[in-house]
């Protein structure tokens, strides 16, 4: 055994094999990156680095920024300011400005896909109404944990989703579907999650509204929990959705029709003063009202996607490609698609209360 150890040491010395050795203290662990585009086409990178010099202040990081000709170049220029080299494997978020999302999205992401030091497990944001370095600096000042913010928004409200970069790429590469990415904005020095932005190919086209983001996530099976309110004032019914599942199928007779089948389980959480729920007929009435509300919302959203947005973010094309329907290959198939929506709501309980007090 001694021979092999000596051989190993000789090999290490001969081939200079310790290039990849780096101590933990040599790393600047990056928490978030924001990328901007300056006027003359150069990239500006802002990073938050976790401060490890004292044990107490761990949520507050150090900010560095630099300008360079490519993403990697500008990130490497930071080394002139920071004593440690940037380490991107534990990154949590990547924030891009609107400008980049509209024009240079694919080029910018190329660096992160190729980089083999980390996995593509971080979340992507688009800075809505501000530049990304302002957003980064706000995140740092307010000591916000952006990952938990996203987590709680996605789980309990549903106007954003927890897709990492890998999931976004997977969705993008499927034929016949376009992506939508979360956005964040600054609202009076507080960072807020805003509605989603939709894309056509690799270019951003615009923003969905808040409610439309929820419907989008419902149709893409990314919804965990949200609140839906039907009617108004005294007839108001508020329900909390705890489970939802959407199935998209092609219609058998017409080849340009898609059927949606949405199953929802909900709990009643609040009602207006005129609403009485005592027997099964009244519960079915309530279910019917909620179903109609959701159906109209979904239909409006689909109409808007077909006519106004013009980009297939729901996935009709992908469904037709998978089932080998030739309608997908026609020009402008999106505007010629027919849909029918069917919603089934199952009310589980009403909060343990059976009689109006």
């Amino acid at each position: 055994m001694r021979k092999y150890i000596i051989a190993l040491l000789v090999l290490v010395i001969l081939f200079d094999g310790l290039n990849n050795l780096r101590e933990v203290t040599d790393l600047a662990i990056v928490k978030a990156i924001g990328i901007d585009m300056t006027e003359d086409g150069q990239y500006k990178t802002t990073v938050i680095v976790i401060d490890t010099s004292n044990k107490e202040a761990q949520n507050e990081g150090i900010i560095y920024e630099a300008i360079g000709e490519s993403v990697h170049d500008s990130a490497r220029k930071i080394v002139n300011e920071s004593p440690k080299k940037l380490y991107l494997a534990q990154m949590e978020t990547l924030i891009l400005s609107e400008d980049i999302a509209k024009n240079n999205f694919e080029d910018t992401l190329g660096f992160f896909i190729r980089d083999n030091e980390g996995s593509n497990a971080f979340y992507l944001f688009i800075a809505n109404g501000c530049t990304s370095d302002e957003l980064i600096k706000s995140i740092n000042e307010e000591k916000i944990n952006i990952k938990s913010l996203l987590n709680s928004s996605a789980r309990y409200r549903g106007n954003c989703n927890m897709d990492s970069l890998n999931d976004i790429l997977k969705t993008k590469m499927k034929p016949g579907i376009n992506i939508a990415i979360n956005t964040a904005s600054i609202d009076d020095t507080k960072v807020k999650i805003n509605s989603m932005a939709y894309f056509d190919g690799w270019n951003m086209r615009g923003y969905l509204t808040d409610d439309e983001s929820i419907i989008y996530n419902l149709l893409r099976n990314n919804l965990d929990n949200t609140i839906v309110v039907a009617e108004q004032k005294e007839n108001r019914i508020g329900a909390e959705i705890i489970y939802s599942k959407t199935e998209m199928t092609l219609d058998k007779e017409q080849n340009n029709k898609v059927n949606f089948n949405i199953k929802i389980k909900a709990n009643i959480s609040e009602t207006g003063s005129d609403v009485i729920i005592k027997d099964s007929e009244q519960i079915q009435n309530v279910e019917y009202i909620l179903e109609e509300k959701i159906k109209t919302d979904v239909n409006e959203f689909i109409e808007k996607v077909k006519n106004e947005y013009g980009s297939d973010i729901i996935g009709f094309g992908n469904l037709m490609y998978r089932k080998k329907d030739d309608f997908f290959y026609e020009d402008n198939y999106l505007s010629k698609i027919d849909t029918s929506v069917n919603v089934e709501i199952d009310i589980q309980n009403q909060g343990g209360v059976t009689k109006k007090w």
Partner: protein, 495 residues
């Protein structure tokens, strides 16, 4: 016999502990020669000398009576011949007596073994009157037994054989003895059950033992090195044990036991890898609950070898495998430490090994103080002084505590060596280094042969029935009807 007496007296000029006793009765002279340090003096005075003196006196009384009665004398003379001879062998009241021929045998060998040499007329007799120079049977010192029997071997070979024979009371339990060592003349014994053990293994061991020609055999390890001279692997291929119930269990499986006088350890061969990890105490507990204990032992084997290597490769090469908060914690802790990770690991493990070694060597008086000082050094003080980081202390603590599971000193040495090799490879190449070191370890483990039987027996030449019996689960004793095929040809155990 005057030549013999003069010969002995001339040789023992510098041996002042050899005593000579001369008894002259009735014109007959009897000489007793013994070594004061090795005999039991009550036995010599109460039994040997008294019975000689009494029988001589009876003889002379009887002879006087016979002489006076002439008819009786003629009858006795005709029938029995010469009765003038004092028949020491049949009159002496001692349990072991032998007549020797001083030309062919070395009388000093008998004197040095605690025998009394009796010279009478032309005959020389030796009588065994050995003193008990060993301790009494007590608890085993290096092996813990929770629920089993708590007697252990002592330094006297006959007592050890007695402890074994108490448990295996069959006449097929063979006991073959040899005296080896030119200056030590130690008794070396070979025990096995003749209708269970395999004949070629016995022949091999006997042949190896008969070729030993050495100055002295001081311990059972001397025999072990002679028998194992062809084995060039690190792992031990025979078991050293101090407990007679362990030895009887192995004898009934078909293994061979070697006992050496003056050594409280017995040598059992052949040994497999699972014998060093499993414990005989598992047989004394409920069979279903033992699975968890066995799993813990195997996990601690893996932990004690892999933990420092894993930590080193995670810190220096693969920082992406650690969750982000833990990585920040590591980075914060390691800020103030001036050494690179490998040097820090070496320092800590070295100091723990020094602590363990000094704990074994120091006597009971100063033992407690040293362990307190050691804990102080390696605990808060080193961290506060900024020499090591707290995470390193936890890693080394896990390693050492898992290593305490193994009691055999050979196994501990092997694990130490491989731990160092794993650490070296991991700190130079990262995760590939751990892969390479695993391959080297498995190759070295698997190619060991324990007396021509494969060392990793139930796992490596795969045998499912044997694996079920003792690897992770223990089979119920009432259902265990067959012996192991690799150790014996006599397979049925119970009917």
């Amino acid at each position: 016999m005057n030549n013999l007496l003069d010969y002995v007296k001339s040789k023992s000029k510098d041996l002042n502990d050899i005593f000579f006793r001369n008894i002259c009765i009735d014109g007959k002279e009897i000489n007793l020669i013994y070594d004061e340090a090795l005999i039991d003096s009550t036995m010599v005075s109460n039994f040997v000398i008294r019975s000689i003196v009494d029988s001589i006196r009876e003889e002379s009384i009887l002879k006087n009576e016979i002489d006076e009665d002439k008819d009786l004398k003629a009858k006795i003379d005709k029938k029995l011949g010469n009765v003038q001879e004092l028949d020491i062998e049949n009159t002496i009241a001692i349990n072991k007596i032998k007549k020797i021929d001083p030309q062919k045998e070395n009388v000093f060998e008998y004197i040095m073994s605690g025998f009394v040499l009796i010279i009478y007329e032309d005959n020389a007799y030796v009588v065994e009157t050995k003193a008990t120079l060993s301790r009494s049977i007590s608890e085993p010192t290096s092996e813990n037994s929770i629920r089993g029997a708590k007697d252990s071997f002592v330094e006297n070979i006959m007592k050890n054989v007695g402890l074994i024979r108490n448990r295996v009371k069959t006449e097929n339990l063979v006991y073959k003895e040899k005296k080896l060592g030119r200056k030590s003349k130690t008794k070396v014994a070979l025990m096995y059950i003749s209708d269970i053990a395999k004949k070629d293994l016995v022949k091999y061991v006997e042949e190896k033992i008969s070729r030993i020609d050495i100055d002295a055999i001081l311990d059972v390890n001397y025999i072990q090195e002679y028998i194992e001279e062809k084995n060039d692997s690190d792992f031990p291929i025979s078991i050293n044990t101090q407990r007679p119930d362990v030895v009887s269990y192995y004898l009934l499986q078909g293994r061979i036991v070697i006992l050496v006088d003056n050594s409280p350890y017995a040598l059992v061969l052949p040994a497999f890898f699972e014998d060093f990890i499993n414990n005989i105490d598992d047989l004394y507990q409920k069979s279903k609950n033992v699975t968890f204990t066995k799993v813990i032992r195997y996990i601690s084997l893996i932990l004690t070898i892999l933990t420092p290597a894993l930590y080193l490769s995670l810190i220096t090469f693969d920082q992406e495998s650690i969750p982000a908060e833990l990585l920040t914690a590591f980075a914060t802790q390691r800020e103030g430490v001036p050494f690179p990770a490998f040097v820090e690991a070496i320092i800590m493990i070295f100091s723990f090994e020094i602590l363990r070694e000094s704990d074994m060597r120091s006597n009971k008086v100063s033992g407690n103080t040293l362990s307190i000082v050691g804990a102080l050094i390696l605990g808060d003080a080193a961290v506060s002084a900024g020499i090591v980081s707290p995470i390193m202390i936890i890693v080394v603590a896990i390693t050492t505590i898992s290593g305490l599971n193994f009691s055999d000193i050979n196994v501990i040495n092997v694990l130490r060596k491989w731990r160092a090799i794993f650490m070296l490879f991991a700190s130079l190449c990262g995760i590939i280094g751990i892969g390479i070191a695993t391959i080297l370890f498995v190759a070295s483990l698997v190619s060991t042969r324990s007396y021509t039987k494969p060392f990793t027996y139930p796992v490596s030449p795969l045998n499912f029935t044997e694996m079920k019996k003792s690897l992770f689960t223990r089979i119920n004793i009432s259902k265990d009807k067959k012996r192991q095929k690799i150790l014996t040809n006599n397979l049925t155990k119970s009917r």
